[in-house]
């Protein structure tokens, strides 16, 4: 069985909750990722922002230079255990309609949404690109 731990990316790119959408777009372009974790002043994860969140916001007329990421982010994150299989990860991505899951070492809570204690230090991220890499083997 192929496990999340073998295909995930270690570490998480973050952006401050007060950053503007322009700064988010710059980080997404720089790191060549499709989403970032949003952190508060203490560095704790308070949500997730994806390129499609930015796309939707600017489509609706929000100004990239003055809109703050906390206004458009998803205020929770989906998590999965390192021990989970890639099939389980794929099922969660399909059901929740997301392209990335935060990976934690501990057992996940019953509802797979943000729980501060689990997301304080996620081990990394599993994205749809990682699933593509697995299928390419």
């Amino acid at each position: 069985m192929c496990r999340v731990r073998d295909y995930m990316t270690r570490g998480v790119y973050t952006v401050d909750r007060r950053a503007t959408l322009k700064e988010v777009a710059r980080a997404i372009a720089k790191y060549r990722v499709s989403g970032l974790a949003v952190v508060d002043e203490e560095g704790e994860i308070v949500g997730v922002v994806s390129d499609t969140d930015v796309l939707k916001a600017v489509s609706e007329g929000r100004e990239p230079e003055s809109t703050r990421v906390e206004e458009v982010m998803t205020p929770f994150a989906l998590i999965i255990e390192e021990d989970a299989t890639l099939e389980e990860a794929a099922r969660m991505m399909v059901h929740e309609k997301v392209h990335r899951l935060f990976v934690v070492e501990e057992e996940k809570p019953e509802h797979p949404s943000l729980s501060k204690q689990y997301l304080l230090r996620p081990a990394g991220v599993l994205t749809s690109s990682d699933i593509v890499a697995y299928l390419a083997e």
Binding site: L21, K22, A25, R26, I28, A29, R32, S34, D51, T52, V54, L55, K56, V58, S59, P64, L86, E87, A90, R91, M93, V94, H99, S128, S129, I131, V132, A133, Y134, L135, A136, E137
Partner: protein, 138 residues
């Protein structure tokens, strides 16, 4: 920024796979090219689009890696006119829930595509424009 025209930023090299190719080989193309979607061809005719989302669904459904691309691809094409702005491109991507648009004269949204599009524009091109970076169009 977002008032730039699609024609100024589009990528003219579209990565394609054949509809009879295996999922494994198509995934290799996507991985090696660092892209999240490819145009699926039957000879010279576009017949679908294969995205990373389609591949995640394939894994979820237990489809074999040896299955053909045409079994899991989407048959819908979402397009934009080359003279449209990047803001318009962002709107269509957002409305249609896609990460890339094929550039076809006179098209907006879901369109029938019978020949190779002029180019492709993706969400990463829009992000680069918002970030104030120059277009990488080729």
């Amino acid at each position: 920024m977002l008032d730039m025209r699609v024609v100024e930023c589009l990528r003219r090299s579209i990565i394609t796979v054949e509809k009879g190719m295996s999922i494994r080989d198509a995934a290799r193309v996507m991985k090696n090219c660092g892209i999240s979607g490819v145009l699926v061809m039957e000879g010279a005719k576009p017949v679908g689009v294969l995205s990373d989302t389609d591949l995640v669904k394939a894994l979820y459904r237990g489809v074999s890696r040896e299955a053909r691309v045409e079994e899991v691809m989407s048959r819908k094409f979402f397009c934009i006119d080359p003279s449209a702005t990047l803001l318009e491109a962002a709107r269509i991507m957002s409305e249609c829930g896609v990460s890339r648009l094929f550039v076809v004269k006179g098209a907006r949204g879901e369109t029938e595509v019978r020949e190779m599009p002029e180019g492709i524009i993706s969400v990463s091109d829009v992000m680069a424009a918002i970030a104030g970076e120059s277009c990488e169009g080729c």
